[in-house]
Amino acid sequence: MADRPSKDAPAPNKDDSQKRQKDMIADHFDKLSRSKADGKKVVYTFVPGNLTELLLALDLLPVLPEINALQSGMRKKSGGYIAEAEKAGHSEDVCTYVKCDIGMIKSGNIGPTGQKLPEPDLLLLSYTGCFTFLKWFELLQHEYNCPVVMLHVPYQPDGVATPAMREYIVEQLENEVIPALEKLAGKKLDYDELSRRLALSRIAEDDLVAVWESAKHTPSPIDGYFGGVYYIGPIFSSFRGSQDAIDYYRLLRAEVEERIRLGQGPTTPDGRMDEQKYRLVVEGPPNWTSFNDFWHMFSKEQAVVCASTYTRVGGLYDQGFRHDPSQPLESLADYCLGCYTNLGLPSRIDLIEKYVREYNADGFLINSVKSCNSFSAGQLLILREIEKRTGVPGGFIESDLVDPRYFGKANIENRVQSFLQMLDARKTRMINAPMRSGPAVHV
């Protein structure tokens, strides 16, 4: 497929589900902009380990600064925000999501829909999978002077959630988090309402898993990374545990099943990708500042991503986890414990290996982002291990989440091209000598 000369590749056409998601998000930001007038309380929190059902059960409105940062990246605002934060003394070495958020606050706190975001009434510091979260909300507390409530989620170094870990989280929920949220909401938590919301979450989670697993088909009806980041929007943010989420995922699943029936691929910046030359597994977050350009580097080569780890940061539903209305707090604890970056490196490697095999991938690619030590520290060992275990070649590229200075388009494109050529070479070798698997050499 021909290259497109445009500076920014076109966005893919929108499916009905995507339009629906856009409406849901617009509605949520409308609610946020009216929150003070409507007497609603606003809680800022993070994606991994979010307690959305709990917030919704108490009529609290969530804001997720990570989502605002990524949206700022996509809207090409993040470069300015980061510069603003660095001017105010924030180091060039640290996570750019944090600096983007701080810069956005200093620039008037205008959210992705162009409306001003309300200030938080409380910061819910759910500390899952990343140490930067702790510092991020300390910084926001400095900006807003509002209360913070901490939920410390233990790490799973061996990929095992022990009863002691679960108990620790439940005790924090019962004794600290829920009382703080109740105080803010001005009412007691109705546990039946919490359970009802968790039951709604389950339904949406089932449909999301069906969407992920659809990528085991050939051609894959989805792109599990570039398209996948849209699919996780509602369930990773403010909608888990709502009827809106159920409706969205039902619609998405129906669209995906229809594509399977018709033998169609996903919509990409290069149109519908029915012909798929490469099947990839990707580790690491995407770059947001040149998102469509980045996707285009793959779609123009008919490379589809069938599974990715970034789309699991807000929950490993495809590994069996479901929220359980019969044990609401334990279930929230298990959810927080099981987010992808809360798993030890050996478990992350096991999971990626499983994806490479189960999704029948031709290649494995790491997008290592400068911002995020939570993801990035250890990725070079992940690369070696996956190559060793699967024989599938690995590629390694470097960029950043929202700092445009670290998206070297030509360099990344060269690396992607060499990586795909390596996959071609391996395929040719395997056709010529089908009994021998090719050497795994990464670029």
Binding site: L139, M150, Y155, N175
Partner: protein
Amino acid sequence: MSSSDFVSQVAPIKAADPCGALLQRCRTLVEDHELNHVKQWKAANPGAFVMGHMPIYAPRALVEAQGGLAVAVFGGGEEVDIIRGDSYFQSYICHIPRSTIELGLGGQLDVLDGMMFPSICDVIRNLGGMWKILFPNKYSAYVDLPQNFAQGIGGKFYAHELGRIAEEMHKFGAQKLEPEKLRQAMRDENLRRAAIGKLDELRRTEPHRCLASEAYLLVRAGGGLLAKEHAAMIEEFVLAAKKRDTRPRDNVRVVLVGAFCEQAPVDLIRALEKAGCDIVDDDFQLGMRMIEGDLDAEAEDPLLALAMGFIKKGAAVASRYIADEVKGKSLIDKVKASKADGVIFAAASFCDPALLDQPMLEVAMDEAKIPHTSFKYAENTGQFQVIREQAGAFSDAVKLWGQVE
């Protein structure tokens, strides 16, 4: 760099210096990247368990209680050439994990039966996972330090965590944990803490008798010593230092913060001293000073007491959630307690906890009208001229105007 080059560059030892021999011993220990002193200890204590640990804080008393020796691993500094380590970490990750991997793959850490990775940042956390893969026959423990500070919640969790580690160490060959032995190990830790307290007091009251670079060597040298032995060494130094024939200097007094994990080269500390700064407080090797007060060594449940030491007396460091205290208060208190004129923020490049903390601390210093300056370093930084000039300008400005424009 050879050991003699290093010694000659670090600090001149006067023949008549009553602390000279001790400081020489400390230097030898600090430069012992082959861990020969640990090997000797192990040979003298056959079957004993040797547990390495990354900065900042690790429950060292637990290791001693189980008949073992805890060994602080502070990376490779400027002396270790990185050959393999760089191929494990991207350029935008700090230096200490790559030099630690280098030491591990190079066999210098073979004497360690296990490694503890305390939960202070994502890099050390992930390094713990890498260790499990690269050294599958060694014990690797992630120490999940609580961020909830209620006894019945975070205290209970951490005591359980310590119990788990004790059992796992036992499975790898350490003695079984017995309450009385843990009490004794905590008494020994208290001795070490008291000795370090005296050393710090000497630095604060008479910095000319104990340079920061010397205090640094003294504390760091104990990273691979039993607490009691380390305490005795420091006590001996404090007594000897009081006999030193030195005179007060016209230096500015500074507190240095942010260097709690990857260590600054000793020459860098010397460069700051030469630039006219008496570092009267710092957070190098913070682990040894992490617990600000005695552990309750007579408690009925010593494991809980060890946990509560961290919960109730843990220092306000960047990796710890400061629940009820105003950010920066602890640093302001330190500045006041040490009668410092200013603060130097010195963080390792790419160190998330230190660099994310710094802007908040800087605001707190501004509000308290405490002069401050900042720079970054790496453990293998070789050139200090720029830092020296910056520190010199800072010291002059503080002397002239009391604060920096």
